[in-house]
Amino acid sequence: MKKIVMYINQFYGGIGGEEMANTAPSIAEGMVGPAVALNSMLQGGQITHTVICGDDYMNEHEEDSISVIDGFLKDLEFDLFIAGPAFFAGRYGVNCGRICRYVQNNFHVPAVTCMYEESPGVDMYRSDIYILRGGHSGASMRKDLKKVSGFANKLLNDEPILWADAEGYFPRGIRSQIILPADQTADKRAIDMLLKKLKGEPFESELPIELLEPVPVPPAIEDISKARIAFICTGGIVPAKNPDRINSAGATHFASYDLPEKELKAGEWESIHGGYDHTYANADPMVFVPVDALRRLEGEGKIGYLHPYFYSTTGNLTNLKDARRMANEIVEFLGKDNIQAAVLTSA
């Protein structure tokens, strides 16, 4: 019976929510959280251990976490490593990708994870490991576990792994040659595709060419003491009771608030971001919007001009289209005030 080690975060590990995101890695014998259901779907393999790590902890202490987990795994025998599923979660997705790549490279076993296509972990790790296409939220857990188990079973039973779309993982950029039957040679496929294109029918390129538009790096500000600077925050800092109803996840709009003369006071402001523990931000909103520092630097003549408003929204599970649109709406406001520099602070 082949052996599997699974990696999950503090939430799925039953340790706690955001307030426990700073939990250091630990390893449990046996199955914890989703490992239980996943194990029941596996054929020819058994999850022997579950590694649990806080989402903030691994992001803030990357080297330490990996070194500790390496220590856990060093004396274990295992044939496969599975992490997640992470759905759309930013930190969890990145951590799953990161630990899978490490384990694959250092323990020489296949590593598999699963997450939603807009999770930042996909672009960062898709070329290194198998990342299965997962659902948007925890509601997809069952479906994603089925996908993971189906793929894991192929690996456990030494079945051939097909190309990305056939298996449901994100393309890794690896091309393998397969021989198609005589009636599907390249010349015939090319003519078929051309005919479709000419008739205006839908067709799928066999090799999608992505044209990335290079973005020129904006120039350094020559004299900061004359610079016109604006502050934007996606940490979800809003006036108490969130009068503008900024979403705690999947934000579609932002609000602009007067940049105070001196400070942001606890009690007058709160955090409504759904992706981190609010304790610190609620006790002192200036951990996200450092008004005292901004005004001090302005008073010392180190900043030329501060835009009179700061822009506030949440960066938690924001979809790309909305994020781009909000940014461009803010650009318009900044343009009207001749702002040359912007500082965007994320959680």
């Binding site: 350094a220 500000i221 600077i229 610190y280 951990v287 803010i330 650009v331 965007l344 994320s346």
Partner: protein
Amino acid sequence: MVVEFEKAGITTVHVANMTPVSTSLGCNRIVKSYGIPFPYCDPSMPEEVQVEQRYELFEKVLRALGTDVIESTVF
């Protein structure tokens, strides 16, 4: 959002904790924050220290704004 600001020609600094994500998205000037729930200072420190931490981190932001870069740089 940072990439959209940069496309518009606005010199931008991303203050973030997950700096590899920022780089992978194409941000050019990045300053690493103290932590995911507390970017500008360490809440376990006494208040006077936190005040100075916020000031110094923003000074770093200003330095990043004033530095020429040709690719994603974490300050």
